[in-house]
Amino acid sequence: MDYTALQDSELMDRLCGRDLAAFEALYDRYGDLVYSVALRVVGDTYVAEDVTQDVFIRVWRKPQRFDEQRGKFVTWLLSVARNRSIDERRSQSRRMRHEALPPTTDEEDVLPSNDERDDPGLATVLSDDRAAVREALEVLPHEQKLAIHLAYFGGLTQQEIANKLGQPLGTVKTRIRLGMQKMRGALATRRAEGHS
C-alpha cells in the first residue's frame, strides 16, 4: 500500500491499529517540521531531537487524543510540538538557573523567516500554508511581531514580556491582541483571494 497517498486522518486511524508503516509515513511527512519547531524553541539540535522523538512517541502511544472534529492533524501535532518544546525549555532554564529567554531577540531573527533560510530539500513541506503565514506576519509592526514571538517561541507570559522589554503590561497586551488580529485578517484576505 502507498501510505504517502493517505490523508493524515487515515494514517491516524491506522495508528490506532498499531500500524508502524502509517507511523513512519507521518514522520516522513512532518518529522522535519516538528524538529524545526523544536529547534526554534530550544535552540539545541540534540535537545530538539529528543523533543521530536518525544512528540512522535506521544502520538504513537495515544493516537486517540487527536480529534478530527477539532481541527487538522498538523495543527494538533504542531501544538503538541510547541508545548513540549516550551516545557523542555523551561526545564532547561530551571536546571541552568537562568531566566527563560528565546534564542535571540535580534530583529532579523524574529519571524517570519524567509524561504532562503529553509533547507532546500524541504521547500515543498506545506509550502502554501507556510507562505500564507509568513505573508501574514510581514504586515505586522516589529513590536507586535516581537511580543508574539516571545510568547509563542519563548514561552513567556505577557507580564514576563513586559518585564523583559521594560514596557507596561497594558502595552504588551495590546500589541499581542492587535498583532493576532492583523495576522488573522491577513490570513483571511489570502484565503478569500484563493491563494490557500
Binding site: I57, Y152, R177
Partner: protein, 280 residues
C-alpha cells in the same frame, strides 16, 4: 477571577499563543467551558496561533533520528504503556529521599512479611483443627512460605541497597535512556570500601515474561555481567551488586555501565540492546 464574554474576548488571542499567566488562563478556560460562542472563537484563535509554527525556518533532522523513533515505537507496540513518572527532577534530592524513604520502604516490606507471617500462622491453626482439609491447607502453606521467603529476600535486598546509598564515600553516576527507552533513567551507586554497588532505575517499560533487564559493568575489553533488574508496574526497580572481586587485568579500565534486555534468567555474554547507558 470570573470572566464575562467581553473580558474573555480580550484574553483569547494571548491564550492562543500561551501568553496568559496561570490565573488568567484558569479564569478564561472556566468561561470557555460555560460559553460555546467564546469557545468557538478560542478554537479559531488557537489554530491561528499554532500556525505561527509554520513560519519557522525548515531544518532537516539528522538521518539517525528516524530509525531511533521507529525503533522506540516498535518496542512500545508490544508492551503495556508504563505509567509515566519522572525521577530526574528529584535526582538531586534522591540520596536524602532514599535515606528517609528507607524507613518507609522497610516498613512496607516488613508489613508484607508480617502479613504473610500472620497468614501462615492462621493456615497452620486451620490445618490442625480440620484434618479433612489437610492436603489443601498444606499446599497453601507451601505457597505462603514461598511468598514469605520472597518478601524477606526482597526486603533484605532493598534494605541493603538503601543502606549502601547512605554510606559515606559512596559515589554515583547517572545512566540515561537510549532510543529503546528514551524516558528511562538510572543511577548507579558505588561503595569503594565495600566493593559493592546498587542500581536504581525508573521508567523502564515492562518486558515479556521471557526477558529481563540486566546490568553490565563495561570495561575497555570486556563486558562483565551484573545482576538482573526486576521492575514493577511503574517501571521502577533496583539491583544490588554484591562484592566484586578483582577483574582480570586484560579487561582493561572500567569505562561505564549499561542495562540491556536479555533472555531470562540473565546471561554471561551480552546479547540484547541497551536501554540505559553511561560511558565515561
Amino acid at each position: 477571577m470570573r470572566m464575562d464574554c467581553d473580558e474573555a474576548a480580550e484574553h483569547i488571542d494571548a491564550h492562543a499563543i500561551g501568553a496568559l499567566d496561570v490565573d488568567e488562563r484558569r479564569a478564561l478556560e472556566a468561561h470557555l467551558s460555560r460559553c460555546h460562542s467564546c469557545a468557538q472563537l478560542a478554537a479559531a484563535a488557537r489554530d491561528e496561533g499554532t500556525a505561527l509554527a509554520l513560519a519557522v525556518p525548515l531544518v532537516a533532522a539528522r538521518a539517525s533520528l528516524k530509525p531511533r523513533i521507529l525503533a522506540s515505537a516498535s518496542i512500545l507496540r508490544d508492551v503495556r504503556e508504563p505509567r509515566a513518572r519522572r525521577w530526574w527532577p528529584a535526582a538531586a534530592a534522591a540520596l536524602v529521599v532514599i535515606s528517609i524513604g528507607a524507613l518507609a520502604w522497610g516498613s512496607v516490606a516488613q508489613k508484607r512479611v508480617n502479613d504473610v507471617s500472620a497468614e501462615r500462622a492462621s493456615v497452620s491453626a486451620a490445618a490442625t483443627a480440620q484434618a479433612g482439609e489437610l492436603t489443601d491447607l498444606h499446599g497453601r502453606l507451601v505457597s505462603v512460605s514461598s511468598l514469605l521467603s520472597d518478601a524477606q529476600r526482597e526486603a533484605q535486598t532493598k534494605d541493603a541497597a538503601v543502606n549502601l546509598v547512605s554510606q559515606r564515600g559512596v559515589s554515583s553516576t547517572e545512566l540515561v535512556g537510549t532510543y529503546m527507552a528514551p524516558s528511562a533513567y538510572g543511577r548507579y551507586y558505588w561503595d569503594p570500601s565495600a566493593r559493592a554497588g546498587a542500581l536504581f532505575v525508573d521508567d523502564l517499560p515492562p518486558l515479556p515474561a521471557n526477558k529481563v533487564y540486566q546490568l553490565w559493568l563495561v570495561y575497555e575489553r570486556q563486558w562483565v555481567p551484573g545482576p538482573t533488574v526486576s521492575v514493577d508496574a511503574t517501571g521502577h526497580g533496583y539491583a544490588l551488586v554484591r562484592t566484586i572481586g578483582a577483574t582480570k587485568l586484560s579487561a582493561g579500565r572500567l569505562t561505564g555501565y549499561a542495562v540491556t534486555v536479555e533472555p531470562q534468567p540473565g546471561v554471561t555474554q551480552q546479547t540484547g540492546g541497551m536501554v540505559l547507558v553511561q560511558f565515561q
